[in-house]
Symmetry: C2
Subunit: 239 residues, 2 copies
Amino acid sequence: MREEMPRAVTTICNALQEQIEHGLLPPGSKLPAERKLSEVFDTTRITLREALVQLEARGLIYREERRGWFISPPRLAYDLMRRSHFHAMVQAQGRVPATQVISARLQPASAVICGLLQLPALSSVIQICRARRIDERLVLYVEHYLNPEYFPQILELDLNQSLTELYARHYDIRYGQVRFEMVPTALPVEAAGALKVSIGSPGLRIARVNHDQRGRLIDCDLEYWRHDAIHVSAVVADI
Amino acid sequence: MREEMPRAVTTICNALQEQIEHGLLPPGSKLPAERKLSEVFDTTRITLREALVQLEARGLIYREERRGWFISPPRLAYDLMRRSHFHAMVQAQGRVPATQVISARLQPASAVICGLLQLPALSSVIQICRARRIDERLVLYVEHYLNPEYFPQILELDLNQSLTELYARHYDIRYGQVRFEMVPTALPVEAAGALKVSIGSPGLRIARVNHDQRGRLIDCDLEYWRHDAIHVSAVVADI
DNA sequence: TTACCTATCTGGACTAGACCAGCGCTATTT
DNA sequence: AAATAGCGCTGGTCTAGTCCAGATAGGTAA
């Protein structure tokens, strides 16, 4: 009869998880340095890091490139049915949104985008790349691709605000049918860079293809979320 | 002017990804042993492993516990709107489904399940745990929790088939409103064990709360998918 | 033929270090 | 007071191994 001895990684995970769940380490607070922690748990930094990566996978902690490890705040509820735009959604949940434009320009459409927007080959599209925060924390990198036909001069407007509101105010365009595609995957380099996370961090890719109130295919978004930042919900009736 | 030298891990990832995408390593085929690969890329096993874990995060490869690394097959399309049961969905996409019952019994409901099914404290529920395969590969671990009031004697039926069909045939119950909740997270131990993956592998948790055609809350499922096995889609009109 | 045993191969887990690059604070300079 | 240069600390990346346990396949005995 021998005792079941759990792996070191598991032991560390459980210890940290317990501390987090009992509120000793509040959301947003910083963990001690990896070297400190590896001393505390009497193990190698490699082993300790493996435990941290696990907790990251569970969504309990996250890292900021070369700054340290932090306790994850609660996930944002993302309801596919009661969709509103980012700012409204975040504020409705009592949190503080922020948006920052990374780039915005007219450019040749890639094959993928031509497909999504049903444009002929060699079309031009308006690409808008933005990074978005909840309570200061970078959580979302989005690439918007707009059919330029419907949005003349949009590049001259302030794109730090909600596109949904710009559409309504300047173009009288509102969202009608929307198609979502969700894929759990690693963040690609552009997204990882914009969100200041190490490349290859787990993420959730949500692609949206949007029609307007008149059924025209107006734009699509590629959203890359930190995987621990949201939980998606949907209510479907009468399948 | 110095050359930008990419990290070893990135180099390995790109090399393998290129081989995979050009079909030299077809879906389901096995990669060489880690030790072999680390020789091929002239690096440590630890570094090589890090690259493999990255490709796993991207969903390009997966591992089977102590058996090796394999190329991931295409993702299953999981449409929230046009929902059918697992077997029908898999077959409709030209693939071969299989289900295996792990356990099925009447037991006291946990607090979480009481909440989801709106049952009073200390209620009993029928728990059915199953593992499901696509083309032989284990991809999904599900825990079903049924309100026993609506499903007398169900434990005496063959639970390897579709529950949806059992409901219809024996109880005249069909799904009406369904609520989905999706959270990217690491697979918990039960799921990892059932799917024979190493604990802490990335996964997608989909919780469903199901009403029947008469609006009664009949059951809920906790689905744990291998994160690289599905992509979820939904079409929403008139937001 | 069948059942079992065993050697070998695989991934899983871990040790004990090293060097580098970016962040942030401090002390200096302007 | 503001700009800057320096430096220490942090995570990021990598080396070169070890030991262990499950999976597999080949051979041996019933």
